[in-house]
């Protein structure tokens, strides 16, 4: 029951900048703030992987295979004697890179398709939205398995596939914003005066869509990291010797490793879980900050 008319609140709402109000709401979301700190640490660790690890991730040591944690190898070594910590840190680069790249692709595609769909309307809109439905109804992981089956495992293909399967959320959102923006009077006036669609996209649609898109993009990053890890775990993503959190876990499928060598599977598993969880919490906090009605 909305008891207070929006019009009555408007003067007050205008007084505080939306950005500051959003920030305040975000900071109120304790898990999101904690997650932001955790994620920052993870990113820093990945960036300074070489300095922190003290080992090369690909140097094998056949005299120290599957060695437990020690002063030299903090997280022990794997089946070919490579330093697990070094691999963990370098794997972080892959995971974060894939996540951000795929999400960016999804946002770009979604923004372009969504704004064109909203601006042009008609059959373009119909087709685009139907296409969005189709992409959303397919289980992206399974499709990626098929793609990997036909063209072979490829990180690039994986990024493109994730991006293509993530764009609809962003596309629908931008379309909605576009429809709302173009109904506004000043926009109609400007269009009547000859302002083109590019002007509209740059000056009005992008700024209006940015806050909600940032939420969708964050959630897309989380999902992309999870998908990459799963694909790599299945052996269809990042290929050895390159390290990824997912493929580090592939070797842990034997009961012997699970029961006696936790340093081989716990750290990469925890790393994926912590990263994806942190990004998702940040997305949750952003959603609260941007659109408090949906909390």
């Amino acid at each position: 029951m909305s008891v207070i008319e929006p019009a009555v609140l408007a003067p007050e709402a205008a007084r505080r900048s939306p950005g500051r109000r959003a920030l305040r709401r975000f900071l109120r979301h304790r898990m999101a703030v904690v997650s932001a700190v955790v994620l920052l640490l993870i990113v820093l660790a990945a960036v300074f992987a070489r300095q922190i690890a003290g080992h090369d991730p690909n140097t094998t040591d056949l005299f120290a295979t599957r060695a437990g944690p020690s002063g030299d190898h903090w997280l022990g070594t794997d089946a070919t004697g490579r330093d697990v910590l070094a691999r963990l840190l370098f794997a972080g680069r892959v995971s974060l890179g894939v996540g951000v790249a795929a999400a960016l692709l999804a946002v770009v595609v979604g923004t372009v398709v969504g704004s064109l769909s909203g601006l042009l309307g008609g059959w373009v809109d119909q087709t685009a939205m139907r296409l969005a439905d189709v992409f959303m109804s397919f289980p992206s992981l399974v499709v990626m398995v098929v793609i990997a089956g036909v063209i072979g495992p490829s990180v690039t293909a994986m990024v493109i596939a994730i991006g293509l399967f993530q764009w609809p959320q962003c596309g629908r959102l931008v379309r909605g914003v576009t429809l709302a923006v173009r109904e506004q009077e000043y926009v109609q006036a400007a269009r009547a005066a000859g302002a083109g669609p590019l002007w509209l996209i740059r000056r009005h649609i992008v700024p209006a869509a940015l806050p909600p898109v940032s939420v969708v993009a964050t959630l897309a990053v989380a999902q992309a990291i999870g998908l990459e890890a799963t694909m790599s775990f299945l052996g269809l993503g990042v290929q050895p010797p390159a390290a990824s959190w997912g493929n580090m876990l592939t070797d842990a499928q034997s009961l012997t490793v699970i029961s006696t060598m936790p340093w081989l599977w716990l750290p990469p598993g925890l790393a994926v879980a912590a990263t994806v969880l942190a990004v998702n919490f940040i997305g949750d906090g952003l959603r609260d900050a941007v659109d408090p009605r949906h909390t």
Binding site: M1, M31, R130, V134, S137, F138, P139, S140, L141, V142, V143, V145, V146, A148, G149, V150, I151, A222, G226, A229, T230, F233, L234, G235, L236, G246, L249, A252, Q253, L255, I258, S259, P262, W265, G269, V272, A273, V276, L277, V279, N280, F281, D284, H294, T295
Partner: protein, 319 residues
């Protein structure tokens, strides 16, 4: 209602055909000669060049692509998915024997997802912005965020290694098959699949319930003297079920994604495990058969969602 269903049906079928075109393109994109996917390897290896040419003609591989597509599609729709490049068995029978286990796993997983999602989602909506709600949010975010295979490894560590009470591999013990044994094998994979998929459902139930709890008719019911419980059970639950049921139906294919991973970890003899191992063996005809199965599943779930939507909502049903 009839017109709506028919329109949706046409759209879905059209989309399905477009997808088969993409899959057909994959058939041709796949390395090697497509004839190898269509003729049992023993015939192919034994056959002379003339036999192969004749076969090629018979299969229409010397025809334009459009004709080839038609041949391939009609064959597939009749259940002819070609032959495995690795062991020469028909893809239909290979996938067929994997179908049951996958359905068993997906079905149980879905059921468990809903068993987790509904109570949590409803309670979270009723106790919005309380500790209960936050806890439910954490559970749902955890289910979305923590990779299923990692949860599976932890579960195996706990229930198979530390406390050996549950098996971690296979669908049953061939030496001592029994219902109890089958259930024991099912528990870990199904529970993990159920948990891994429950997050989105929970959030959906919660937000749908919140929307309905804010509806005007709730106030009307309260103004009539209805208790909170009655309002929820008699009024909001049914209304919030409409979008939730549609969502569940439309999301059936996503269950398959989880099953692929879980089958792999638990050596569950389902289609997902077959698909992953076929990728490793470059068994393209099996992969493409699998792709067709996904397309059919997507088609069915989309139609199911439409039908459910029209059945559950009187506003659609009666118009």
């Amino acid at each position: 209602m009839g017109a709506y269903i028919i329109r949706r049906l046409l759209i879905n079928v059209l989309v399905f055909f477009l997808i088969t075109v993409v899959i057909f393109w994959l058939v041709h994109k796949a390395p090697g000669d497509p004839i190898a996917m269509m003729v049992p390897p023993d015939q192919l290896n034994a056959g002379s060049a003339a036999f192969i040419a004749a076969k090629r003609h018979e299969l229409g591989l010397d025809q334009p692509l459009v004709v080839q597509y038609w041949h391939w599609l009609t064959g597939a729709l009749h259940g002819d998915f070609g032959y495995s490049l690795v062991n020469g068995r028909s893809v239909t029978s290979l996938l067929g024997e994997r179908f049951g286990p996958t359905i068993e796993l997906m079905g149980t997983g879905l059921l468990l997802s809903l068993v987790i999602a509904f109570p949590l989602g409803i309670v979270a909506a009723l106790r919005r912005n309380t500790r209960v709600d936050y806890a439910a949010t954490v559970v749902s975010l955890g289910s979305v965020s923590i990779p299923a295979f990692f949860i599976a490894l932890i579960a195996i560590y706990v229930f198979t290694v530390k406390f050996p009470i549950l098996p971690s591999s296979g669908i049953s013990d061939p030496s001592a098959p029994s219902l109890v044994d089958s259930l024991q094998h099912l528990i870990l994979p199904a529970v993990i699949l159920g948990f891994a998929n429950s997050g989105p459902y929970m959030r959906y139930v919660r937000s749908s319930m919140i929307t309905e709890l804010g509806a005007d008719y709730v106030r009307t019911a309260e103004a009539k003297g209805a208790t909170r419980r009655r309002v929820v059970v008699r009024h909001t639950l049914r209304n919030s079920l409409i979008p939730v049921l549609t969502y569940i139906a439309a999301n059936l294919p996503q269950q398959l994604a989880g099953a692929v991973v879980i089958e792999q970890v638990f050596a569950w003899p389902g289609m997902g495990q077959l698909a992953v191992s076929s990728v490793g063996r470059h068994d393209y005809s099996v992969i493409i058969g699998f792709a067709l199965i996904i397309a059919v599943l997507v088609l069915i779930s989309s139609l199911l969602a439409d039908v459910l939507y029209t059945l559950v909502d009187p506003r659609v049903r009666l118009n």
